[in-house]
Amino acid sequence: MSVDTLVAEARERLVARAKREGLASVGYATFTTDLGPLWIAVGPRGVLTIHYGPEPGVSELARLVRAYGPGVVPDEKRVSPVASQVEQYLSRRRQRFDLDVDLRGLTPFQRRILRATARVPYGELTTYADVARRAGSGRATRAAGAALGANPVPIVVPCHRVVASDGSLGGYAGGLRTKRRLLALEREGDVPKGGWPPARR
């Protein structure tokens, strides 16, 4: 038996004990998907983070710590139901996510924008201006774009369905290639052309 195996087993027991003692409230794990590695965190109220990449950025971790303290621990078992729904979505076996999303640590405006975005149905498109309007802040188009750019739970809160009013793709935290790919998956290849809207080129 190698030290790595020993550590993996010991870690599983440690995390279980820390959870029982109330020392660990958020579990995370990295999963490999067709879109590359995704770092996913789940807390007591639902999915907190889906990050494109093997590990989160400083600001993403800071949000988790602000909301739930330092008890953020590796916990593959806890995260795997989320990962499997994402996997089903990416292989066209799921159109809606049966998951609670936890937007704690975000501003009320960000939460309104993300909730409005969560209501955009599978395969449909909307614009930053429209999302801002639906969130009750019709003139805050640019701020809506920024809130969506900082969406902590992409894919599940489908910010890829939001594009610029001129029909160009706008931006995406996972990169425009990923945005195009997700839209192609949902819309059978019918994807808006172009990248950033002219003002941001």
Partner: protein, 152 residues
């Protein structure tokens, strides 16, 4: 900067497990030391000094090992009372390095392993043992002297 238990674990758990294995020489004991060390760290969070999490973990782990060694010594003494079997005669076997380290008192064993096996600088050995750097040097040198004598 480390802000979560997960980061602390991912960065140091392998090192602490290896240290516990070297000090206890037993997989189950090492597992216990690993569990107790990290649980104690989680309970006592935040670390006393930011940026010195490693030395802090070594200090906790070293104390856990020393506590265990003290408990076990008591158990052995109790066992000694019941020794009624005829003496088997001491068959002196080859004393290798591992055995020599194993026979050091727990504090000196920790000093030796921290310095010569884990390769920590004296400042970190001192922080892990919660003593001055001079005291750390003298513990390491005393342990090294004993090991040399035993393997000679």
């Amino acid at each position: 900067m480390i802000t979560t238990f997960g980061e602390l674990l991912e960065r140091y758990e392998r090192e602490i497990m290896a240290y516990a294995l070297r000090l206890t020489g037993d997989r189950d004991d090492a597992d216990d030391v690993y569990q107790e060390t990290f649980l104690a760290a989680f309970r006592a969070w935040p670390p006393p000094r930011r940026g010195q999490e490693r030395a802090w973990l070594y200090r906790i782990a070293t104390n856990k090992v020393i506590d265990r060694a003290r408990r076990e010594r008591r158990l052995v003494r109790l066992g000694d009372l019941a020794l009624a079997a005829p003496e088997r005669g001491s068959s002196v076997t080859r004393i290798d390095l591992a055995r020599a380290i194993e026979r050091l008192p727990a504090g000196q064993r920790a000093a030796f392993v921290l310095r010569h096996v884990q390769g920590l600088p004296y400042a970190e050995v001192a922080a892990a043992l919660d003593c001055s750097e001079d005291a750390a040097r003298s513990r390491v040198s005393e342990a090294t002297r004993k090991v040399r004598v035993r393997i000679a």
